[in-house]
């Protein structure tokens, strides 16, 4: 599965989204489930799924699905 598809699944599972919900363009606090609690759960789920550790700045700046994707790209292309 691509990173995009795996991240989409993490969003769907964590935020309890229906299969037809479009995650592209989704923004923090746009839907009730993506509140501050959902945000921390999302961070934990992303870290578990991709085996990464997000920085403080990344956590509080992650305001959309695309932000999460960019953050993840940075982590996954960085040399181990």
């Amino acid at each position: 599965m691509s990173i995009h598809a795996r991240l989409t699944q993490v969003f769907r599972d964590t935020l309890d989204l229906s299969p037809e919900t479009v995650v592209e363009g989704l923004r923090y606090r746009e839907i009730p489930a993506w509140n501050s609690v959902g945000h921390m759960q999302l961070v934990a789920a992303i870290e578990a799924e991709f085996d990464v550790m997000l920085d403080t700045d990344e956590i509080i700046a992650m305001a959309s699905f695309e932000d999460a994707e960019r953050t993840l790209d940075r982590h996954l292309i960085a040399p181990a």
């Binding site: 309890d16 501050s36 609690v37 509080i60 305001a63």
Partner: protein, 482 residues
């Protein structure tokens, strides 16, 4: 002014700095503006909200400067004020309005429709707020007790219409005790990010304004970088958080957030695990800050104890001695006053205890029924020096994100789908059910999420073959939630 308390021991209500030492100092700050103490008093004076009789005023708005001005204007007019979660939804609000008959409802100016049926638009004396009135053609069914100043929801969003009825004297006493015990002064500036319909959020506002300090008001999330920019640029000194906020702060790390102006940290609104209390205290100490663990209930306006800074790291599980003017007692199951070290129900005595509960308009007419004694339903023991150690709950409540949820309400909501025993594990509400079908379990979760307004990720469902029972035939909850 109706029902106002002042004078003795410096207690004031509404909670504004009484000596007017600092007229030009900031009182309310947001991302655009700063309102000084003198400007705040002027704004309150220009918004009389007068009516022939004492009225019930709902504040139905997210945290904002106009909402605070409206709240203070309603208190100053001597009304009974009830800040409510604007996210409750129109059905729940309409049901509450039928029960309590609010004469005034203040909403954001952007609100075009009456927030509950039958209200009519009235001229607004407060910029940024819309004012809605109950028409004279619909008289209310009863008067409001002269001592009543504040009505606060006791069970978050479960739709249970039980409110703590607090007197002006109780609120003034609690505000003063908080100022004293935390050492709040004109130099202090708190972040008002906790909602104003939550007793802890209100207490932060009250204590800082009454001490001549200021608050930075925001509706932003704790996990929004703009909130931390606001903390930085407005040099916030005080931060309050429920366990969720402290869990998040430990993950984010104060040092990395770069907010060196913060020096007074408080934690209340539920139990933070002892190892996390230690880590939080150490994290705050590293930037020269004080960390206080506190204990309270909305029924006490809300504060009952505060642990002195410095003890958090060395006394895990401790929440401190009673506030000045208050007293703690432990009652054993036999109803006897416990010896130090012996566990039982925590009983609090103090001037800040509510008058009683109100579940409808008739309840607003009632005077004090508790006489300053609150049976908390929490279990604990007292150390020889008077420090309270909490050990559990007598009543069946979950406390998620500082919001108390009556487990009986949850189980009743789930009942039509399948029998459930509800409990708390960490920051999650767990529904244990004998229903094995995944589709029915999904329905159970959806039903409880809808009934409680909890975050979907905070509700999980677990199947068991059968509920364990105690010898007396009752379900063994401890067997399910050790």
């Amino acid at each position: 002014m109706i029902g106002a308390a002042s004078g003795r021991t410096g207690c004031v209500w509404p909670p504004l700095e009484p000596h007017f030492w600092v007229p030009e100092a900031p009182a309310l700050i947001d991302e655009q503006t700063c309102v000084t103490h003198v400007a705040l008093r002027q704004a309150i004076a220009q918004a009389p909200l007068s009516s022939p009789a004492k009225a019930l005023v709902w504040i139905l708005a997210p945290n904002s400067i106009p909402a605070v001005i409206g709240y203070y204007a309603a208190l100053t007019a001597g009304h009974a004020v009830c800040p409510l979660d604007p996210g409750l939804g129109s059905e729940r609000l309409a049901a509450l309005a039928r029960r309590f008959e609010p004469e005034w409802v203040l909403t954001p100016a952007a609100c075009q429709q009456p927030p509950v049926p039958d209200l009519v638009s009235a001229p607004s004396p407060i910029a940024g707020l819309a004012v809605w009135r109950r028409p004279d053609s619909l008289p209310v069914s009863g008067p409001i007790h002269p001592d009543l100043t504040l009505l606060l929801a006791t069970s978050g969003s479960t739709g249970n219409p039980r409110f703590a009825a607090l007197s002006a004297a109780a609120m003034a006493a609690n505000t003063q005790a908080i100022i004293q015990v935390l050492g709040i002064g004109p130099q202090d500036r708190a972040l008002a990010h906790l909602p104003l319909w939550y007793s802890y959020g209100l207490s932060v506002l009250h204590s800082h304004l009454a001490a001549g300090g200021s608050v930075v008001i925001t509706d932003r999330s704790f996990l929004d970088d703009a909130l931390w920019r606001l903390v930085r640029v407005s040099s916030v000194t005080a931060l309050a958080g429920v366990p969720f906020h402290w869990d998040s702060l430990l993950r984010l790390d104060l040092a990395r957030l770069a907010v060196p102006s913060l020096r007074l940290f408080t934690q209340a609104g539920g139990r933070l695990a002892p190892d996390r209390v230690c880590r939080a205290a150490e994290m705050c100490a590293r930037q020269g800050g004080r960390f206080h663990v506190m204990y309270g209930q909305t029924e006490a306006g809300p504060r009952m104890t505060t642990l002195p800074a410095g003890e958090a790291a060395t006394r895990p599980g401790a929440v401190g001695p009673a506030l000045p003017g208050g007293r703690l007692e432990i009652l054993t199951e036999a109803g006897l006053v416990a010896e130090p070290g012996q566990a039982g129900e925590v009983i609090y005595y103090g001037p800040n205890v509510m008058m009683g509960y109100a579940v409808d308009r008739a309840g607003l007419a009632a005077g004090d029924r508790l006489g300053g004694r609150l049976a908390t339903g929490d279990l604990g023991r007292l150390e020889p020096d008077g420090t309270l150690i909490l050990t559990g709950r007598k009543r069946l409540f979950a406390k998620l994100l500082g919001v108390r949820i009556d487990l009986a309400d949850v189980e009743a909501a789930a009942e039509p789908v399948a029998p459930v025993v509800a409990g708390q594990e960490g920051e999650r509400l767990v529904l244990v059910t004998t229903e094995g079908d995944p589709e029915r379990q999904r329905q159970l979760r959806a039903t409880v999420i809808a009934a409680t307004g909890l975050h979907p990720g905070a509700v999980i469902c677990r199947g068991v073959a059968a509920f364990p029972h105690l010898p007396n035939g009752k379900i063994d909850r401890r067997g399910l939630f050790p």
